[in-house]
């Protein structure tokens, strides 16, 4: 008889299962779009109109960055809270209610996005997942996003309820580490989502409904990034949780230090939000000083990640030595490399280290000018969310599936091949994206092939980079197919009695070593809020003062499929569009040894 999560919490296991399956559904469609746009951009295979590319990209961004990741993590968090507190949810109906709300929200946002593919429905939301005004999506899109976020808020309420009920019964105990991680992440998320809630409810939704005439594009953009940066930590913190509480277990050892893990999550809670302006280093209308503050906070945010790197490696080493590994590096051989769960997570961690380097370039406020909005950035976040997060989630799925279905995984070898393929595919794709970005190839562009702009590679060529990107994309797609094959085939397996028990890693240095103050969530919340107020009050006031709360009069830009509408609008507003001027051939004029960086001085 096994003692899986399903055996312990049969009702909760169903919720977790539903959340995971929703997440995988988003991953499947999002992934399909990923390969479509990869082949289109690189001009390897184009079957749709380039205007539709942006609809595909909107769906890819929303489905993967928001839907896939968040559905998965609410499942993981529900598992973490129930397992570590050893109690079921307080009210199962409530739990299903927030899950249902998230599903409804997703569906509502998806309808106008997908309607963008057809002319027969007069609806669209090809505004990308950043929905910068004055580009305007259908109201249903904004409403769906709001409901989805409200669903996650209620999920947070659920986890807090469990904790309070538990605390009433265990007044003198330390918060178990997994629950501590869930609670700090949830508080961070509450603060972060205030930005996007304000952007949508006060401005974008009323504007899309025609209740207000105009919006301040810089204000809604800043509110978006108030949320848009910390959302990254909403994905990363559950990933870190897996690295802290699961990876040591799979390596055969214990977590190195429980107190340090708490410190890391507290640092994330207080530093995640007051950094969003680092996405706006290039925005006119925000003073340099504010950008500098955001950069400083961002750099300090490196600290918890560097600490995590240490703890993860130290825990792995401990596990390896338990398994009989010896030597300075010899212990690496003793790790369970045949286990897809371990290997997937380890490779994800390795890629995250690489992502750290490109992230440091992004974070430097003047170096950022070279790479901002180029393909470099896309390369960067396919290492972070696209691998550190996504590959960890996929790998740990191989452990979770038996826990929530009571069925043995269909094939461990296929799973192992799958995680390795993801690593290989992403190495090709992301590396080439970074390099293309350095040449100035822009992101979010259906056809980065211009008449009057050439991208000069010092080594290799744009063609070679495109080939690598396309190859990487194809390998990633094969990896995804293997993943789904495993998930689906596991569903067809019969119940098994010999599954590993539910549980997570113990710590070498346990919570009793952690100062009590670490568990003082009120204190950390207060500090987090103060830091946000410091970082954001003046920039927001200044933006409103400059451009007005509802902005200057802007030209609303409903994103409809007909590309004619905006062109007509452009001409109407005095567009003297002299397109033919561009036709002059450039190539000859370019010197072979040109210096790529024009000097910016002041």
């Amino acid at each position: 008889m096994s003692n899986t999560y399903l055996d312990q919490f049969p009702a909760e296991a169903k919720v977790v299962r539903a959340a995971f399956y929703s997440s995988f559904f988003a991953l499947a469609i999002g992934g399909l779009f990923g390969i479509v746009q990869t082949l289109h951009r690189t001009d390897v295979y184009r079957f749709m109109d380039s205007a539709d590319y942006y609809t595909v990209l909107t769906a890819h961004g929303v489905l993967l960055a928001i839907t896939f990741t968040i559905f998965f993590l609410v499942g993981v968090f529900t598992w973490a809270v129930t397992t570590s507190l050893d109690r079921g949810v307080e009210n199962l109906r409530f739990t299903w209610a927030w899950y249902g709300l998230m599903v409804i929200g997703t569906a509502m946002a998806a309808i106008p996005i997908f309607a963008g593919f057809t002319d027969s429905i007069d609806m669209s939301a090809s505004v990308l997942f950043t929905f910068y005004a004055p580009l305007q999506g259908h109201p249903l899109f904004y409403l769906g996003l709001v409901l989805f976020v409200v669903g996650t808020w209620l999920a947070g309420v659920d986890w807090f309820r469990s904790w309070r009920a538990w605390k009433a019964e265990h007044p003198d105990e330390r918060i178990p580490l997994p629950t501590f991680m869930v609670l700090t992440t949830t508080i961070m998320w509450y603060i972060a989502t205030l930005g996007v809630a304000a952007a949508i409810l006060l401005f974008l939704l009323p504007w899309s409904l025609g209740l207000i005439e105009s919006v301040n594009p810089l204000l809604t953009r800043t509110l978006f990034w108030f949320f848009g940066h910390p959302v990254v930590y909403f994905w990363l913190m559950p990933t870190y949780m897996m690295w802290y509480v699961m990876l040591p277990k799979f390596s055969g050892g214990k977590l190195f230090s429980d107190p340090l893990a708490r410190v890391v999550f507290v640092l994330f809670l207080i530093l995640s939000v007051p950094t969003g302006i680092h996405h706006q280093y290039l925005d006119p209308g925000i003073a340099e000083g504010f950008k500098f503050i955001a950069m400083t906070n961002t750099m300090f945010l490196l600290l918890p990640s560097l600490l995590t790197a240490f703890t993860v490696v130290a825990s792995m080493e401990h596990g390896a030595r338990q398994r009989g590994g010896t030597g300075y590096f010899g212990w690496l051989k003793a790790l369970p490399w045949r286990d897809p769960v371990f290997t997937g997570m380890a490779l994800a961690g390795l890629m995250f280290a690489a992502a750290g380097f490109s992230g440091m370039v992004n974070a430097g406020m003047n170096i950022n000018y070279l790479v901002h909005n180029t393909f470099w950035v896309v390369g960067h976040f396919h290492l972070t969310v696209g691998t550190a997060v996504a590959l960890t989630f996929m790998a740990v799925t191989y452990w979770f599936l038996p826990q929530i279905t009571g069925k043995a995984l269909w094939s461990r070898p296929v799973a192992l091949v799958q995680v390795v393929l993801w690593f290989v595919g992403m190495t090709f794709m992301s590396n080439a994206m970074h390099r293309a970005g350095l040449l100035g190839v822009p992101r979010r562009t259906a056809e980065p092939q211009y008449e009057g702009v050439t991208f000069e590679a010092a080594v290799g060529s744009v063609g070679e980079l495109n080939a690598q990107i396309a190859l990487g994309g194809v390998i990633l797609t094969i990896s995804l197919v293997l993943f789904f094959a495993n998930v689906i085939a596991t569903g067809f397996n019969g119940r098994s009695d010999e599954l590993p028990s539910n549980g997570y890693a113990d710590a070498l240095s346990g919570p009793e070593d952690a100062p009590l103050v670490l568990d003082n969530l009120k204190l950390w919340t207060a500090i987090a809020i103060v830091l946000v107020i410091f970082a954001y009050t003046f920039p927001l006031l200044s933006i409103v003062q400059r451009g007005g709360l509802f902005g200057p009069e802007v030209i609303t830009f409903p994103v409809s499929l007909e590309s004619l509408a905006p062109i007509a609008a452009a001409l109407e507003y005095g567009g003297l569009a002299t397109v033919d001027g561009v036709a002059s051939a450039v190539t000859g004029a370019l010197e072979p040894g040109r210096i790529a960086i024009a000097e910016v001085v002041r």
Partner: protein, 271 residues
């Protein structure tokens, strides 16, 4: 809390690294004077750009010996002016705004890169040393034709650069046997004086006038064309006005007495 020795060392190394980064960038920004796009510029009304002093006429302006200002408008799906022409060895300040949605103004492969937000004006100063053609892309999604939004910055040799504006006022048609007058306005928008010629070529004849202008001055040169010159095989007579490398072309239609339908092209041009 007991922290392992190695962990302490790691923590210290991490802090040193972080402080080091911040210090490097602070030095870069303050010490080396590398500027960021900030909030130096006044806001504008995106719907009223046509009447705006700075952006009503997107253009290049000279403000010092080797210093120029460029006023750029980004809109779906083009940049104005395009191409932007500036001389080598110059210091150029770009002011960029958007007429409609958010765009970017990015010289491909360089760190000359800024977001362009309606209502706001991005300012950045760039030094251009050698003649070169830079491709400009919009790297922020701005609508279904975003991928077609591009432009160029031409950095040209000093002796090929001027800010001369030429406009020609010539009649569309003249009656046979009458003479025609062609007025050429030459404006020198550079700070230095300009000595050149205005040349009119019409019906196979060429006449040349000297033009001498102080910086910022404009003048009008008038050419009178004899009736004989206008006697061509065809009733449409082509003309061309050339000032340095600026050329304006058009046609004059000579109307015979009794011939009622005149030409409809030619006439007033403006560069």
């Amino acid at each position: 809390m007991n922290v392992h020795t190695y962990e302490k060392l790691w923590l210290i190394a991490a802090m040193v690294l972080i402080v080091g980064f911040i210090a490097t960038i602070t030095y870069g920004s303050v010490g080396l004077g590398i500027a960021m796009v900030g909030d130096q510029q006044e806001t504008v009304e995106p719907t009223e750009l046509a009447d705006d002093e700075r952006f009503g006429e997107p253009r290049v302006e000279q403000i010092g010996d080797d210093e120029y200002e460029v006023y750029v408008v980004a809109q779906t799906f083009s940049f104005q002016p395009d191409p932007i022409e500036v001389p080598e060895n110059s210091q150029v300040t770009f002011h960029v705004t958007a007429r409609d949605v958010i765009h970017s103004f990015s010289l491909a492969g360089t760190n000359v890169n800024t977001m362009v937000i309606p209502g706001e004006v991005a300012e950045m100063t760039v030094e251009f040393d050698d003649p070169e053609v830079y491709g400009v892309v919009c790297n922020e999604y701005c609508g279904p034709d975003h991928h077609n939004m591009e432009g160029q910055v031409h950095v040209v040799p000093e002796d090929e650069f001027d800010l001369t504006e030429v406009s020609v006022d010539a009649p569309d048609e003249v009656d046979a046997g009458e003479s025609a007058t062609v007025d050429v306005t030459v404006e020198n928008r550079m700070l230095d004086g300009l000595e050149t010629t205005a040349e009119l070529e019409i019906g196979g004849e060429t006449s040349v006038e000297e033009v001498a202008l102080e910086g910022g001055e404009a003048t009008e040169v008038t050419f009178t064309v004899d009736p004989e010159t206008l006697e061509a095989d065809d009733s449409d007579v082509e003309w061309a006005v050339t000032v340095d490398d600026h050329e304006e072309r058009g046609t004059v239609t000579v109307i015979d007495a009794g011939d009622e339908d005149g030409g409809d092209d030619g006439g007033e041009t403006d560069e």
